[in-house]
């Protein structure tokens, strides 16, 4: 039996992301046909989503959504954007309600054993880190495909070996999520086209890690 822990979750996510050295990004316009309405999210559902995200990502809830569970100010409100994106998946609401009933590591372990929620959890982790949405079915197909199938897929691209990349489709959820992905903070960097450091920052000492993740 596979041990279920945040380490295995992240390993699965890493495996997905590592093979997606170059990801295929669905153009933003393609989402125009699927526009979720901006409706008020029930406060306890959002809180549960943050609690679940904390366990999945390893990032404290107070940093994912300041102000929601402890005093603080959340100027970006990214949590509601990810909630509204994830809720389109059928298994999302039952998972949230189950987590509300039992907000424990064991509950998360249960989600990891169930294929209906395993890949959804991976999608949520990737959303927080990369600001992009990987449809759970895509992640599942990627995980399930055999090494031979993956190799054949690469060959079918017709490209030279050095230029073959496994394409895992994702969608950048919004310009804001692109800039707020946690991967940038952990890398002590910033995304292309977006930097809020002071003019002349390149000539100074780089900020400490704590300044990125606090």
């Amino acid at each position: 039996m596979t041990e279920v822990s945040r380490r295995t979750i992240l390993a699965g996510v890493a495996a997905t992301a590592a093979t997606a050295a170059f990801t295929s990004v669905v153009p933003l316009q393609a989402l125009a046909q699927d526009k979720p309405e901006v409706e008020q999210i029930p406060a306890d559902d959002l809180k549960a989503f943050i609690g679940l995200s904390e366990k999945l990502t390893g990032i404290p809830a107070a940093r994912l959504a300041p102000g929601l569970t402890s005093p603080g100010v959340d100027p970006f409100e990214i949590a509601s954007v990810y909630f509204n994106t994830a809720k389109k998946v059928h298994s999302f609401n039952p998972m949230i309600q189950a987590f509300k009933a039992a907000s424990t590591d064991e509950a998360v372990a249960t989600f990891m054993k169930d294929p209906k929620t395993l890949y959804l959890c991976r999608s949520i982790i990737l959303a927080w880190y990369l600001g992009a949405w990987y449809v759970p079915e895509t992640l599942e197909a990627e995980a399930m495909s055999s090494p031979e199938a993956k190799a054949n897929k690469l060959l079918a691209t017709g490209k030279p070996a050095a230029k073959r990349y496994n394409m895992v489709q994702c969608t950048v959820i919004s310009p804001k999520t692109y800039s707020q992905g946690w991967v940038w903070r952990i890398a002590q960097a910033h995304p292309m086209g977006y930097a809020n450091s002071r003019f002349g920052y390149w000539s100074g000492k780089p900020p400490d890690m704590k300044d990125f993740i606090s």
Partner: protein, 516 residues
């Protein structure tokens, strides 16, 4: 000989003591002066700061506000205040900032004579109209600006010690609108001009208060060479509630950007017309026009305030608009009542003929397109809608706040009831109190709300239309969609290599004293 020596020696001793005394005094004074030159608080006006702490929106006490506003500018907040019960902090802080913004608006728009807002005529010169205009600070050939004149000396003097361009008469209190400066008719980053429904440019002015002006003046930051020679970090004076030994706080640096509409006699002012705008007399300065300096009547349509404070080192950013500027997206979608008119939108024009939020084609300079006020057949009229997150919170707290202030006794029968606060943008991170944040990853300190645009001042960089929101209440592209703090974070001086200029683009307008 002894009888001569003793008096002589006494004389020498006395002279020595005198010389020593004066040299000590002068040295101390010089040192104090030099030390003073390095202290940004030197030119910061000391005031009794009004109490702006807001516990809840339903606790706004208009009797207290009336008392605060009794002496006009003395009601100007030194810093913001907020409820601090720890819950729902974002909403409570926003309430506090919006309340602060209204008090700031009332104080700055109070008559320059010192009376309370609403006490004067609709066109009584306001406090902020006695500040210095940018063209009077950043002069051609890097010349030093002329001194600040205390407005109390002559409240009708208008813009502070205006420099009168050649070809213009004595302004006599009229504001000179420098159309030879592109920023007067073209929006930030050359994003386009705004034309009203009469075919006239919206006109933009930038002014600085005394602490901000004196900081630039005394450090010689008004020209490129002065900026090169300045070897400290530029840090404008803070507004502060912290009392000094005389129990006074400080005002801090304030910069204003206002947008004006040309007023039409018979429609906007004149006999039997109830004024809806705060109006001023202006002089439209266009050196290449047949009439170089043309008298005009201007109405205030947009009003930005940037205020640097102790607790918000990235400044607090406030913006107001006139009611009649533009409809919101929702209003347009739901249908605009028949007979409603706007300054920058025509309800009777179809989308195919009047595409929304578009800039005009072709050249934008007034002299190139041959523009003259109130053209008979205007080539272009802007069709503008306010887009993006409006209101900021679903409970429309700012809408309620607007209604409360507009119904206040000193406002409700004046033109000021026609002005709405859009919202206040403020840095929300812990770094907001840090005067020397060094090299943080986010020097903007997480502004909230993320985006902010005035439909007359950032017309073409407003957030996206709601149809594109995709579940994100802030539909915009960071660093492309308008955000006061994010944009101003990139402001620098004019000299090379440039340095940070503490969230103002004013220093970028400096000229060189060496170039011909």
């Amino acid at each position: 000989m002894n009888s001569l020596h003793r008096p002589f020696l006494r004389f020498i001793a006395t002279l020595t003591l005198v010389v020593l005394f004066y040299s000590i005094t002068l040295t101390k004074g010089r040192a104090a002066g030099q030390a003073g030159l390095q202290q940004p608080q030197d030119f910061n006006v000391a005031v009794t700061c009004p109490d702006v702490k807001l516990q809840a929106i339903n606790q706004i006490d208009f009797t207290k506000i009336l008392a605060l506003q009794k002496n006009g500018i003395l009601g100007l907040p030194c810093d913001s205040g907020f409820a601090s019960d720890g819950t729902d902090l974002t909403t409570n802080l926003q309430h506090g900032f919006d309340y602060y913004s209204w008090l700031t608006f009332l104080a700055l728009n109070s008559p320059a004579s010192g009376a309370a807002i609403g006490a004067g005529a609709p066109d009584a010169p306001t406090v902020w109209e006695t500040y210095k205009q940018l063209p009077d600070v950043m002069l051609p050939k890097g010349k030093p600006p002329v001194d600040w004149v205390e407005s109390s000396a002559n409240p009708l003097v208008g813009v502070n010690n205006q420099i009168v361009p050649e070809g213009c008469p004595d302004p006599k209190g009229r504001m000179i609108i420098h159309m030879d400066m592109e920023e007067t008719y073209n929006e930030p980053f050359k994003s386009g001009p705004l034309f009203d429904q009469n075919g006239n440019y919206a006109l933009f002015v930038i002014l600085l208060n005394e602490p901000m002006f004196e900081y630039i003046n005394h450090r010689r930051l008004f020209n490129v060479e002065g900026q090169e020679a300045f070897d400290s970090e530029i840090s404008f004076p803070n507004g502060t509630l912290k009392p000094d030994e005389n129990k006074k706080g400080r005002v801090g640096a304030i910069m204003i950007k206002a947008s004006w509409k040309l007023m039409k006699e018979g429609t906007d002012f004149g006999k039997n017309v109830t004024p809806k705008y705060h109006m001023i007399d202006g002089l439209l300065y266009r050196p290449k026009a047949p009439e170089i300096c043309r008298p005009v009547k201007l109405g205030l349509v947009g009003f930005h305030v940037g205020h640097k404070t102790d607790t918000r080192q990235q400044w607090i950013w406030t913006t107001f608009e006139h009611h009649d500027n533009v409809p919101t997206e929702s209003e347009e979608k739901n249908g605009i009542p028949s007979g409603t008119t706007f300054s920058f939108y025509n309800p009777g024009c179809k989308a195919s003929d009047c595409p929304v939020n578009q800039t005009p084609a072709g050249s934008w300079e007034p002299d190139v397109i041959g523009w003259s006020p109130f053209p008979e057949n205007p080539k272009f009229r802007s069709q503008i809608v306010r887009t993006g997150r409006s209101p900021v919170f679903p409970d429309d707290d700012v809408g309620r706040l607007n209604k409360m202030f507009q119904a206040a006794p000193q406002i409700k029968n004046t033109v000021w009831k026609n002005y709405d606060l859009i919202t206040t943008q403020w840095p929300s991170g812990h770094c907001a109190v840090d005067a020397h944040p060094e090299n943080l990853p986010d020097a903007t300190c997480a502004p909230f709300p993320t985006f902010l645009a005035n439909s007359t001042l950032e017309t073409f960089s407003q957030p996206q239309q709601q149809t594109e929101m995709r579940g994100d209440p802030d539909a915009g592209v960071p660093l492309a969609t308008s955000s006061c703090i994010s944009c101003h974070n990139n402001a620098t001086t004019q000299h090379r290599p440039a340095s940070r200029s503490d969230f103002t683009y004013i220093l970028e307008k400096a000229k060189s004293s060496k170039l011909n």
